[in-house]
């Protein structure tokens, strides 16, 4: 049942994936958007999903915490395992799943509330803090981990929407971290940001990579090469190739991967 590409070196030994897709198909009505995907995602390795627009990488990402459930015509078959448990079986509590698998979106979407309330919202609804002091602690550490604490510590009461784009996105990351997830999904988190803000987010992803399994969808191959250890290339709903990032970018096995990386398709 190991359909992921063969691993090499010491990484192959500790290979118990955090999340795994097994024969995943996604349909939007009659449109077959994702075709039979098998993919292992590891806790300690940032994984990039790359591919041209409309290739299904975001759709696949949104399957990993069942965000696609809200689209009525969207239909998913196959299994997605989170620590050996299929998240698409009927007994799964989607609310709890999304607390374990957090998400950062393409466009920064802080709540129109204070910075404090933005970060504290997740812990509040899940009852993670018994006292106000615990909540303060969670907010502080989350903002610290997201590298935003120094910039906002004096204005936690001001609105989250008043921050700059890059700060907003880091606030969204802090908000996701505050729930203490195991996996963080990032859907093109830098596509609405300028290069400086992008660099900060990339550095942040690098820093967080040890603590959370991070799966990131990106349009920028340079970004994928910079921040991820594993890369999956999607094309027209299929996963063409999956492997170590260095390998994908230096010696791709598939012609389509090479064509995309060298800019011939996309």
């Amino acid at each position: 049942m190991n359909s992921a590409p063969a691993e090499t070196g010491p990484e192959a030994i500790q290979a118990k994936p955090k999340m795994a897709a097994r024969g995943v198909n996604v349909f939007y009505g009659d449109n077959h958007a994702i075709k039979d995907i098998d993919l292992d995602l590891y806790a300690d390795k940032v994984t990039s999903l790359i591919g041209p627009s409309g290739c299904g990488k975001s759709t696949f990402l949104r399957c990993l915490n069942r965000m696609n459930d809200t689209i009525p015509i969207c239909h998913v078959t196959g299994e997605i395992l989170l620590e050996d448990e299929n998240i698409y079986t009927s007994g799964i509590d989607v609310v709890q799943l999304r607390a374990r698998v957090g998400m950062v979106f393409q466009k920064p979407n802080p709540f129109p509330k204070s910075i404090y309330d933005n970060v504290a919202y997740g812990p509040r609804i899940h009852g993670l803090a018994a006292h106000r002091t615990d909540l303060d602690e969670i907010v502080t550490t989350s903002l610290e981990k997201a590298g935003l604490w120094q910039e906002v510590k004096d204005r936690l009461d001001s609105s989250g929407t008043a921050l700059s784009g890059g700060q907003q996105q880091r606030l969204c990351i802090a908000r996701a971290i505050a729930v203490n997830p195991e996996v963080i999904l990032m859907d093109e988190p830098c596509s609405a940001l300028d290069p400086i803000a992008t660099a900060k987010i990339e550095a942040l992803i690098d820093e967080l990579s040890g603590r959370y399994a991070i799966i990131i969808v990106t349009h920028s191959m340079q970004q994928a090469a910079r921040i991820s250890r594993k890369t999956a290339f999607f094309h027209l709903g299929e996963m063409v190739e999956y492997g170590d990032t260095t390998e994908i970018f230096t010696s791709p096995k598939e012609d389509r991967t090479r064509d995309y990386i060298t800019g011939r398709i996309g």
């Binding site: 915490n65 965000m67 809200t70 009525p72 609310v95 709890q96 799943l97 999304r98 607390a99 957090g102 998400m103 950062v104 979106f105 466009k107 979407n109 802080p110 709540f111 129109p112 919202y121 997740g122 609804i125 899940h126 929407t161 969204c172 908000r175 996701a176 729930v179």
Partner: protein
């Protein structure tokens, strides 16, 4: 047709000659069309503003006099023989005696002092008609409030009857032959005498705002209708807002999108355009006939108007719920908020300004509605101020309708004045809606 008359530039391969005659003609024509369109638009605005100004001006012109009323000052002697002596009688007995006394005799004594030449029953009665029938209650209340008045003579301002009031306000044409007017020559001459004595004055009439309805225009007030409207709107708000909001939330956030919900949606949109009297018939059939609720009561009126307001509330609420950006829902969902938490923590607070605006606009419409209330009996003549939602009551627009229907000339100005009161409440409600929208509007 016009397009063909304009010469087109010759097709050439070179750069476009923007200075050619054909091009200049095109440009001139474009400018002319813009000017004509703008002046048409401006004209439309001017015409509608003129209509509005004319309407408001007319109402204010007619209604301003509704807030003032003519009074006549006469010297009343509070005779102890007639009224009883508060020093010798117990307070209860004194009160009883005052209540039983015909106050007209006090007025008659004073008036006859002023016009000793008036003799005979008929002329005396005509003379007494200068003073409003409400003057008796006014005197009685004065005495009961201050028994020390007994034995003294005091100059008292009493309301005049509506006919005399109309003469003072210039609404009765006294140049007409005597037979063709309500106020006769002898009354006019007495009135002239009183005016010469400086006993006639036109004062602000607070009873119009604090009193209930009356058959006498000078005694009629809008307070009963205002209280009735307030009770009715309270029932409407308490019914239509929660039901409408819940329906909107369910339809927008939870309902499956299928043929059945489509049909419901179409029906709600159509209900908003149903003539209001139909809702009155529905209220009559359901609330009065089937459920046996009290006739003419604000509770029934409020429920009927709630039926009328519901589609407005639902449509406005759905629109503002749908206007909350999906990214906020995604953000909350991505953190593991349950569907209900997404709605109540994020969507509803953000949609609230729009929901409240829609609700207030709906309430304002309900406040101005009279047709459905006619069907459930809120059109009765009710003097008492309603004390609860179960008491018989009327509402402002129905009160206006009733007064507009009255034959007395003096009700014309009362009608306009009541319209001014109604417009005041409508403008205030719309003002609150605008204020709420601006205060809570979320900037993204």
């Amino acid at each position: 047709m016009t397009e063909r008359n304009v010469p087109h530039a010759e097709l050439s391969t070179g750069p476009t000659d923007w200075k050619s005659g054909a091009m200049q003609a095109r440009i001139a024509r474009r400018y002319r069309r813009e000017r004509i369109f703008q002046s048409l638009g401006l004209g439309a605005v001017v015409i509608s503003v003129l209509f509005l100004v004319f309407l408001l001006g007319n109402i204010v012109k007619n209604g301003a006099y509704g807030f003032v009323q003519t009074s006549v000052s006469i010297d009343v002697t509070f005779s102890a023989d007639l009224l009883g002596d508060p020093t010798s009688l117990s307070p209860e007995a004194f009160t009883e005696k005052v209540r039983k006394t015909n106050m007209l005799r006090l007025i008659q004594t004073s008036m006859q002092e002023l016009f000793p030449e008036v003799k005979g029953r008929r002329d005396t009665r005509t003379l007494l008609r200068i003073v409003s029938t409400g003057a008796r209650a006014q005197l009685r209340n004065m005495i009961l409030a201050d028994p020390a008045l007994i034995g003294t003579t005091k100059r008292v301002e009493l309301l005049t009857s509506d006919d005399i009031d109309q003469v003072i306000k210039g609404n009765i044409d006294i140049s007409l032959p005597e037979a063709n007017r309500k106020v006769k020559d002898n009354e006019l001459s007495w009135l002239q005498t009183l005016q010469n004595d400086d006993r006639i004055s036109l004062n602000f009439h607070s009873q119009f705002l604090t009193g209930g309805d009356s058959r006498e225009p000078e005694l009629a007030g809008v307070w009963g209708a205002i209280v009735g409207s307030a009770f009715t709107l309270m029932v409407t708000l308490l019914t239509a807002f929660p039901i409408g909001l819940c329906a909107a939330i369910y339809l927008e956030e939870f309902a499956p999108k299928n043929r059945f919900t489509d049909i419901i949606e179409i029906n709600i949109n159509n209900l908003a355009a149903v003539p209001s009297i139909v809702f009155g018939l529905l209220g009559l059939a359901v609330f009065l006939s089937v459920m046996g609720m009290p006739r003419s009561a604000p509770i029934v009126g409020g429920l009927t108007l709630a039926l009328l307001t519901l589609p407005t509330v639902i449509i406005a609420s759905r629109a503002s719920i749908a206007a909350v950006p999906p990214s906020i829902r995604d953000a909350a969902r991505g953190l593991g908020a349950s569907p209900m938490q997404v709605v109540f923590h994020h969507v509803i607070p953000l949609a609230m300004p729009g929901i409240m605006t829609g609700t207030i606009i709906g309430m304002a419409r309900a406040l101005g509605e009279s047709a459905p209330l006619l069907m459930i009996g809120m059109v009765a003549f009710i003097v008492d101020i309603p004390g609860s939602i179960n008491d018989a009551a009327t509402v402002l627009p129905v009160q206006i309708y009733l007064w507009a229907d009255s034959p007395e000339r003096a009700f014309v100005e009362k009608t306009s004045a009541a319209i001014m009161v109604l417009l005041f409440f409508l403008i205030a409600m719309n003002g609150i809606a605008i204020w709420l929208r601006q205060k809570f509007e979320q900037k993204w």
